[in-house]
Symmetry: C2
Subunit: 585 residues, 2 copies
């Protein structure tokens, strides 16, 4: 037996296996996951595992290594989140999200830090040795809402899209603030004196860390898109580039002390549309599927490890400090959401209701990021107290808040996500309104989001697409693509229902494709004005539509003898007329 030799991969594989089997186990009983969020169940499994290890070895089970967490477990989840981010609601609410993420997090950090410092001054609690800086440092790591925990809970409760993106977007973007504040206070703790210069440098860092992350991410994202231009002959490694470049963007950002989370999200959002156009359909299925699989495994491992790491002798228990931490976390978050939403609502027509505010405040779950950050703290006397307090806050938010949020959403009748996808008609009207608003904004001189979106789209089609897309010479208009996609889907449905050969049974989708074309025509006319007419595309569209419209009329149920068959073969047409005449005789 040679266990040493294979130990590392063997144990990793076994952990992943355990996590996957646990997942299967929950889903065997359908009732369980509908009551308790999966994250709670996984932490519970982890607690049991930790208990077993502790009982057998009589020493603390291994805690989750912060390096492993930040380098290997977090990136897949964030990549998945960024790649599948619904970009429209995200950019529509970007102002609000940034306000919550930046101002809200700072508010929470200082609120929690200062009030805990106040608690430490009470002599009866015997906490006088915890300095203000240490309390602020603790505040900086406990204040940040955790994307992994939020995703795990919010994916299951199906609240409306705006509410979801507000909480989730905040949890992703507050990483930049957390990184800066955490590192700032950590370095302050080690400095003998703090100059006001350092504080200003810290404020400047916000922008460097956040914007730097965006820049790193976008540059890797565009490089990835550019690379996939050349993979036509080796489709098999196409999916790889999506993962490699995203991961490189994360690592590069971390290397330069920028926000890795922001970088990987920008990378994924930047590359998505170009990569999707360049790679084959099967490659894309692999990318999507594998991303989901990987993030799901990472997520499972994180929660199990969270449970395992809770068991052990790393904790110093101090009732007042821990209880007040939980209370302050709740209070300051609620206050922050109330105050910030008050300002947000003054500038928006589509306001955030008080129910939504409650869910935003209540959905501020803490998770593995806090946990990893607290273990990364330099050793000092009260580190174990901080670890205990962090663990309690995480368990409290994940278990109590995570388990009660679903009943609360039901009770408050919070607006849910619409189940059906928007119809093509709706999409067309939304696009039409976008164009209209962009025009109005341009005329009125108010450079709002529609104006910038329009400019970006222009820049994209004028420069980026030419560089990043392979087949720019013969670009397929989006109407043709949509039509092809619908027809492929329809064909598969027909085949599955065993009805192939009936002709298109849903004239509605042809109608909608036609409607869509009228929308697209505005775009095409636009292009024409810019002296880039594309007769091929138009011909292609007209040919497809003409062919199918004739066929619909022929196979449609309402056979009208007053409308004659259009074109195609005149002999066939003549024959049809002949038969009709014979019949009428």
């Amino acid at each position: 037996l040679d266990y040493q030799h294979v130990q590392v991969p063997f144990e990793i594989t076994l952990w992943i296996m355990l996590a996957s089997l646990a997942k299967i186990g929950f889903h065997l009983y359908n009732k369980l996951p509908s009551v308790v969020p999966e994250s709670c169940l996984l932490i519970f499994v982890g607690l049991i595992m930790g208990g077993i290890i502790y009982g057998l070895n009589d020493r603390s089970p291994p805690v989750m290594d912060s390096d492993i967490f930040f380098l290997y477990l977090l990136p897949p989840i964030v990549l998945d989140a960024g790649y599948f981010m619904p970009s429209r609601p995200f950019f529509e609410n970007i102002g609000t999200i940034l306000l919550y993420a930046v101002v809200g997090t700072i508010w929470n950090v200082f609120g929690i830090g200062f009030s805990l410092y106040g608690i430490c001054q009470v002599k009866a609690f015997r906490l006088q040795d915890v300095s203000l800086l240490h309390n602020l440092l603790f505040g900086s790591l406990i204040a940040a809402v955790d994307p992994v925990a939020v995703l795990a809970v919010f994916e299951e409760i199906h609240v409306n899209e705006k509410l979801h993106i507000l909480v989730f977007g905040e949890s992703l973007l507050n990483d930049a603030v957390t990184v800066v504040l955490y590192k700032l206070f950590r370095s302050f703790c080690e400095m003998p004196t703090i100059k006001s210069m350092d504080v200003f440098a810290g404020v400047g860092k916000f922008f460097v860390v956040g914007l730097g992350g965006v820049l790193v991410g976008l540059s890797f994202g565009f490089t990835a898109a550019f690379t996939t231009r050349f993979t036509k002959d080796i489709r098999v490694i196409e999916p790889l580039f999506v993962f490699l470049y995203s991961y490189l963007s994360y690592l590069t950002a971390e290397m330069f002390h920028l926000s890795g989370i922001v970088a990987i999200i920008s990378c994924a959002m930047g590359m998505k549309r170009y990569v999707e156009a360049n790679i084959s359909l099967k490659s894309h299925t692999t990318v999507k599927y594998f991303m989901k699989m990987w993030s799901s495994v990472s997520d499972t491992l994180i929660f199990i490890f969270l449970g395992v790491s809770t068991i052990g002798e790393n904790h110093e228990w101090n009732w007042p400090y821990i209880c007040f931490t939980v209370i302050f976390c709740l209070i300051w978050r609620a206050l922050g959401v109330l105050v910030l939403t008050f300002f947000v609502n003054r500038f928006h027509v589509n306001t955030i209701t008080s129910k939504d505010q409650f869910i935003i405040a209540y959905g501020g779950l803490r998770g593995a990021i806090c946990f990893s950050l607290v273990f990364l703290l330099p050793d000092f006397r009260r580190k174990k107290l901080f670890i205990a307090a962090t663990t309690v806050v995480i368990l409290f938010t994940v278990f109590i808040q995570g388990m009660t949020i679903r009943p609360l959403v039901d009770l408050l009748a919070v607006k849910r996500k619409r189940e059906s996808a928007p119809t093509v008609g709706e999409q067309i009207h939304i696009r039409f309104l976008d164009h209209l608003l962009a025009g109005i904004e341009d005329i009125s001189g108010h450079w709002g989001q529609y104006y910038w979106k329009d400019k970006l789209e222009y820049f994209n089609s004028k420069y980026l697409q030419k560089i990043l897309l392979r087949e720019y010479d013969q670009p397929k208009s989006s109407i043709v693509l949509l039509y092809e996609k619908l027809e492929r889907k329809h064909a598969i449905e027909l085949a599955q229902a065993g009805q192939l050969g009936h002709g298109p049974a849903h004239p509605s989708f042809l109608y909608s494709a036609f409607l869509c074309s009228s929308n697209d025509r505005t775009v095409i006319t636009d292009q024409k004005l810019e002296d880039t007419p594309n007769p091929d595309v138009l011909d292609n569209m007209q040919e497809i539509l003409a062919r199918n419209l004739y066929r619909i009329r022929r196979t449609g149920p309402a056979y009208n003898r007053h409308t004659l068959p259009g074109d195609s073969e005149p002999t066939e047409q003549a024959k049809e007329i002949l038969i009709l005449r014979h019949k009428s005789l």
Copy 2:
């Protein structure tokens, strides 16, 4: 800048990126890969990289770590090979493959070992200090044909299936022999005296290592199949189990000093049919695609590292030893193939031609396995000589043989692989003959491969399927599955050609499905005899066929007025007749 923190994942990602970009680079110029095998190009890139590293640092570049090779790079390639192994030709030629793999490899090991020992006795060469045992040890690592190198070259030259499986199967299965002989001679080298007992134990180990690998692999494979029974509610982690269980089988086998390659191949071959039936179509696309992607990256990395590791100061040059190694490798392989094929041909009707024998002998490429094994040798005086000789043999076989084998295959007009897939008619006849031969073997009492195959199939449908398949209660007959698959494919083709709505344009596939059904009926009748009639399946089939046959006739181009529309709506039928009569008037 904090490079230390991200070094490990960053460098790994960069190496993979380099490998992928190199692959893209070759394929940009279509002519290059058609002349030079990709493996040669990759080694060349590696040599350049190694040269750059050597020039910059002025010390040997890092060599490929044997642990990394055996634990992380080799398994994906072997898993891919096992999962996509064409099982029919493999099992048809299993006897010949095993003969080449076991007897042929032993022949080569001892042939090369003893003749090199003979060379060492020549005083002018100054090699007297290389003992017989060391020569045999060297022979054991240099004799084995490498699956990675063979795959890389044989995938590009498209020889006929039998020839391909003979060389490739040998390269996979000789792992068991190599492992045993290599470890045996290594332990003999360290022992003061060798008892005859140890030699017998060594012979016994062959069976333990080989059969143990098969057992470990099959048990993990069946566990994997059993696990995928329960993944219906969480499709997203289905592909994971295929990878996890295969990898675990490899690691477990390695842990017990069994043949990991044999284990992972048995695991993949054992699980494939059950996993495919249990998991969703998209999961299966992901599994296939990801396996190809991963093995392709591993393969690329191995050849690049091979190139990088060649540069440096690990070599001790001795002209006679190195030249004779190359010569003996060629001679003993050629002799071995000739002698073994002579015996094989005496027992087979379908003989191996002399052209095929030449390609088998010439295709015995050495690769990264030899290279890793030579670095794993314990330190002794002549290790650097062995490294140099191994490097030369690998470069000689990969470059000279790998580059000339394609022209030789053309020159000799070796039978090529048939490009088209076998038609359904052919498949049916093959299956019919299988049943027939199984019956003949049973009657004549000759228990050959057909008899065992039939027994295995019976055992599979009687016991294994019930345990391992999820939907065994309502099994879909293979004819229904085939029909569905064909119709889905056809529908997509139709949609892509923009011809949806024409009705099935290929009556041939319906005809073939019908033919196939007649074949399946024998199986169904069989089941009936075993008191398990399945009226649902039959009804289902009849319904589908009836519906489509009517429709074909209706929409088919040859409209024959003498054959009346079959059934469906009588009113429509009557109307049609009416119109026809009117027309004829």
